[in-house]
Symmetry: C4
Subunit: 269 residues, 4 copies
């Protein structure tokens, strides 16, 4: 069998519905195995799970190979970020790890296999892409929010570090504390503590909450408006397309009137 | 009296406004009885409530029978999910339960009678239907969110189980803890505990909060946009309908111009 | 001076800008007096505040009288809810109260004077009206939410009353606890407590949070869509009005074409 | 070199891309220096940071001078709020402070230098401007919310001051406590405490939460609607512009029809 034949056979296999469902099934099964491992289990079941794990790894190796050989131009394969992600997960799973330290990282890699769910199901891939596409629009709001956080954390760790170093010890701890305040998580405890020393420090917290809430709201509103505008433009384009297919326009009427007027004028002469 | 006559009489009764209001009144009264039972009451009142309960059950039995016999084609009756729900509630209420264990379940069934409010009032039924119709649109976002939860819970129960088994003991407890983190409920307590061992674990929590908030926001925005698009399409269809009734279109003008041009050309020849 | 003259003079006074600003000033001043009273003050200041209070009461009496006499038809005066509210506040303030029990109620009445700010400033009155107008739209969602609360509270006080009577003692306490859960306020403490007895009770809390969040979101989306539709209709009406003023329509063109065709046909015959 | 030449050279320097990036770099560097100072550092590094600080101050002095001299009309320079802000920051940084009390204020001023990021990057400046422009629209809602807060705080400090003076001691502390309740931060602790004395005080808290949530929602919806209306108007104006360029209108057709009708009528005579 020539390499060409093999490639086209793999290609047919790759796009086979049953094969796809089977791969999704294996991914779900591997997710369940990962979940099962977090429960206390008898030793023999651990051995079973380890065997299943090796089986899943081998299956994924075969599956990624099929995908690779199915590609006519091998370079295209690595142009897709998802393919690179899949390949990396499979390769790292293959490295045998015995060290207890590394064993945790090995488990972490196996957990990330669940993400293959996203790479396999096109709807999830599209959803994630649309989420990621919305991110850069938020760029400047995020930067502004970071500046607000940085300034407040600098002020906080300058004035409050002596009061509670666990919360305001340095600028990074301060930013974490401010994130906590932004989520309203026991923020009054933080405030009451500093108000005992600086009785006006409620201004610090309230202004911070006001600024971040306001910036956050604007971010959301910005996204909503963007999404709605996109939809509106899409609808308008559709309408225009509809209007232009086969339908006479005012321009057509104008041309015809020009012709009629021309004929009448000629006769008048 | 023939069975046909009886059916049409029941049908008239079923659609009678007074009868409907009376049924709503009985449902509200049964809800009040359920509420009253949660208060400590003297024994004789308990007896009264039990008697009322039996009365309500019998009334509901009569009412559901009327609805059933009012239906011309009996098979249609069980095509409505609400009818099945009503019938089940009544039938289960009829089973006499004495065992204390089962008594709780009996009370539970009686509580669900309040839901008959939704099955009786058409506006509430429509509202619930529109809520349920919005759910499948959220399908893939929910799946994506579940994957995020699953991966983070797997990571969390792998690394943090030794720190606090009550919060991270296995993957299901881990998912519950993550839901708590998503609602910002004492999430810093959870974080500070793990940060003592893994000082970088704030990345775990902040990235989780970021992902879930972002996915949640996108879900909301998705619903808003969908609802608005539906409304817009409805309005546009209305406008088009309005425009097309009796009003001449550009197409009509075009035809008339064709006719005029034809007449002029004929004369010119 | 005749009663007619007096009325028109009062009317002019009532709509005088300076008089209005003066009344607003007095209301703000009365709000400050109320605020000042909550601070510990020396006795002589208390006497001053009491004197000021009497002064403000008398001023409001005069002001409301002016408004009353300024009205040509006295019956119209009591058709406005705000006028009734203002009059009641003034009348109750006039009743001398010495009893300590009643003194608190007297202070309460004086506090409600601040609401006169809303009755005086037209923009605030409009804002409040538009808020109130949005309420009935929410009617059925509120009813649905109440039914959800009632059912969950009945279930909660049936099963959890023995675990913690302070939180689940009866159906009203249960509803308050559920409101607390809805605001995510230490809801895990409530859940962990019941999970020790009923280990599956997390389903109760999570489903409740899911339902209420979902109903709440739908309520918000409903309001947004309603407001946007109103705006859109307003804009469309404006556009149509604009389009119809002086501009020839397709209908006009059609009539003219009919005329031309008629002329040509007549000539052809 | 004449003053004119110098000004135009400065002007060219000011709008130079490399110069701008360099200034942004220095601002980021100064932010890092501020952050570094919040960590415990060896003495020699402190000396280095102090030297860097002086260097940054001098650089900013030079930079602001360039901007000032680059301006053709010096009065325009102080018409921009950002220029005044920049100049103030630089001037105050120049004042030598040795006193420990004042040293904190000196550090505060240096922290505000990070805000120069906003004054330098045009996108951030625009974002902040658009945020600030949205504020006055909220004016009346904010006033209404303040009135709600004031009335509830007055009621709260009248009735609950004896129960917990730390939370309800006077009207300002009461407003802070109410803000805490609005953020749902341990609000049930506050409520349970007062419910022991006034068992109906849950009405106070629930009505407050209802009013503020409702007013807050309306504020957000108001902003969303405003932003969407602005966008819609912009799009409509674009469309109208598009429609009017070169395209024949119904009015044009009408004129031509008038001409044709005129010609025909003339012939008929």
């Amino acid at each position: 069998m020539s390499s060409r034949d093999l490639q086209s056979r793999f290609d047919r296999l790759r796009s086979n519905k049953v094969f796809e469902l089977f791969v999704v099934g294996i991914i779900i099964f591997s997710a369940l195995v990962i979940g099962a491992k977090t429960y206390p289990l008898p030793d023999y079941l651990h051995a079973v799970l380890r065997a299943l794990d090796t089986g899943i790894t081998l299956f994924f190796l075969v599956e990624i190979s099929i995908r690779f050989f199915a590609e006519a131009d091998k370079r295209n394969f690595f142009k897709s970020g998802w393919n690179i992600f899949d390949t990396l997960i499979v390769i790292v799973s293959l490295i045998p790890i015995d060290d207890t330290e590394m064993a945790l990282i090995g488990r972490l890699i196996r957990i990330f296999r669940v993400l293959r769910m996203v790479s396999i199901i096109p709807e999830l891939r599209m959803l994630l892409n649309s989420l990621l596409k919305a991110l850069p629009q938020l760029g400047y709001v995020m930067l502004l929010m970071f500046i607000i956080f940085y300034i407040y954390a600098a002020v906080g760790s300058t004035f409050f570090a002596a009061i509670n170093p666990d919360l305001w010890g340095n600028i990074s701890i301060g930013m974490l504390t401010l994130f906590r305040v932004m989520t309203f998580e026991d923020w009054t405890d933080v405030m009451y503590e500093t108000m005992e020393v600086y009785s006006l420090s409620w201004i610090y917290y309230l202004s911070f909450i006001f600024f971040t809430t306001f910036a956050f709201l604007n971010m959301i509103i910005g996204i909503v408006v963007n999404v709605l505008e996109d939809e509106r433009r899409k609808i308008r384009d559709e309408e225009e397309l509809e209007a232009n297919v086969g339908q006479p326009t005012i321009q057509d009427l104008k041309q015809q009137l020009d012709a009629i007027q021309g004929m009448l004028e000629e006769k008048a002469r």
